[in-house]
């Protein structure tokens, strides 16, 4: 449980398998949506490679279908993906020792899934090379599955049965990732406030997500800092790379 333990790229792939399976229906849905608004398989893949963003891709397709302007499409995608800044800030300290090129690749491959899977593993303690390899295994496998799944969805198009609730795999993947990040009262409050504000603020459209994340982070942090007080103890203040495994507080 120290900086000394390491990991291979295969460890990253293995830890990501459930999320890869979840990304498959998500990608199929996105591919179908792309052809439905007339982008074709090549357009779908252009979005998957260049934008490489699940939820933002779906939102962009919907706007393209409605004939929205370029500025509206880009602004909406940026608001939905603004959470990536939070992930970037959160994971950066673990990868600060990597060269600039590697960090650029880390950035391109940054997704909800690669971020959460890697962060949970990093908190158990991992040396720098292990962190890099683990992230690469997770990030590249997720990238490949997304590319294949969206292309498949675009090629299959409307032939997929309507009754299959493929779209529901999306919130389920996020739910499955959410639970292991809730480890104590402050993180529980962050999740409850974030979820509640997202529902209440939904009429605002895409900005609701940002507002909800900010409120949840604020509420959880306020509680953690009040409880932790002056130089406190426990998980709140554990130095990076030396924190206990996050999943060990389960029932």
């Amino acid at each position: 449980m120290s900086e000394g333990s390491t990991a291979t790229a295969m460890d990253g792939v293995r830890a990501s398998i459930p999320l890869l399976i979840g990304a498959l229906p998500f990608g199929l849905v996105a591919g179908v949506a792309a052809v439905e608004v007339g982008l074709g398989a090549s357009g779908s893949s252009a979005w998957s490679v260049l934008a490489y963003a699940g939820a933002a891709q779906l939102a962009a397709y919907e706007l393209i279908g409605r004939g929205a302007s370029v500025s509206v499409i880009v602004a909406t995608a940026m608001v939905i993906n603004a959470r990536l800044v939070l992930y970037s800030v959160s994971i950066a300290p673990y990868l600060a020792g990597l060269g600039r090129r590697r960090r650029l690749l880390v950035a391109y491959l940054l997704t909800d899934q690669a971020y959460v899977v890697s962060l949970v593993r990093y908190r158990e303690g991992l040396d720098l090379e292990g962190r890099w390899r683990f992230y690469l295994g997770s990030g590249v496998s997720l990238w490949l599955v997304w590319q294949v799944a969206t292309l498949l969805g675009a090629l299959l198009g409307g032939t997929l049965p309507e009754r299959l609730p493929l779209g529901f795999a999306v919130p389920l993947v996020f739910l499955a990732m959410l639970v292991p990040t809730v480890t104590d009262r402050p993180t529980l409050v962050a999740a409850l406030v974030g979820g509640a504000v997202a529902v209440l603020a939904a009429p605002l459209g895409p900005p609701a997500l940002l507002l909800a994340a900010a409120c949840g982070i604020g509420a959880g942090a306020a509680l953690a800092l009040r409880a932790g007080g002056s130089g406190g103890r426990g998980a709140d203040d554990a130095p990076i790379g030396d924190e206990g495994p996050i999943g060990d507080e389960g029932p």
């Binding site: 940026m78 939070l86 993180t187 962050a190 997202a198």
Partner: protein, 106 residues
Amino acid sequence: MTVAVIVAVLLVGIGNVVLRGSALLFAERLRDVPPRTQAVLRMIPPATLAALVAPALLLPEGTFTPLGPQALAGLVALAVAWRTRNLLATIIVGLVAVVLLELALG
């Protein structure tokens, strides 16, 4: 693809790299994170993920449906996630639950 769509995907692509790289590219300065900042950073995953999940479960068609198939299947999946900590079991049970609940309630 129209020219407008090509411009849009290029801009979104550049924008996403900027968002994703924002802190990572300046990570040298973030090596030593003060405990107070860490306490804030730790709230990012639960707050953000919950904000992504809750509307999909509670506002499936845009209207508040606390007892709809999605919300109830979400509860089932939540219970599985909590008890097993197994990502795959959570996703599969949730998908099966929503199919059955849609047949039962729909």
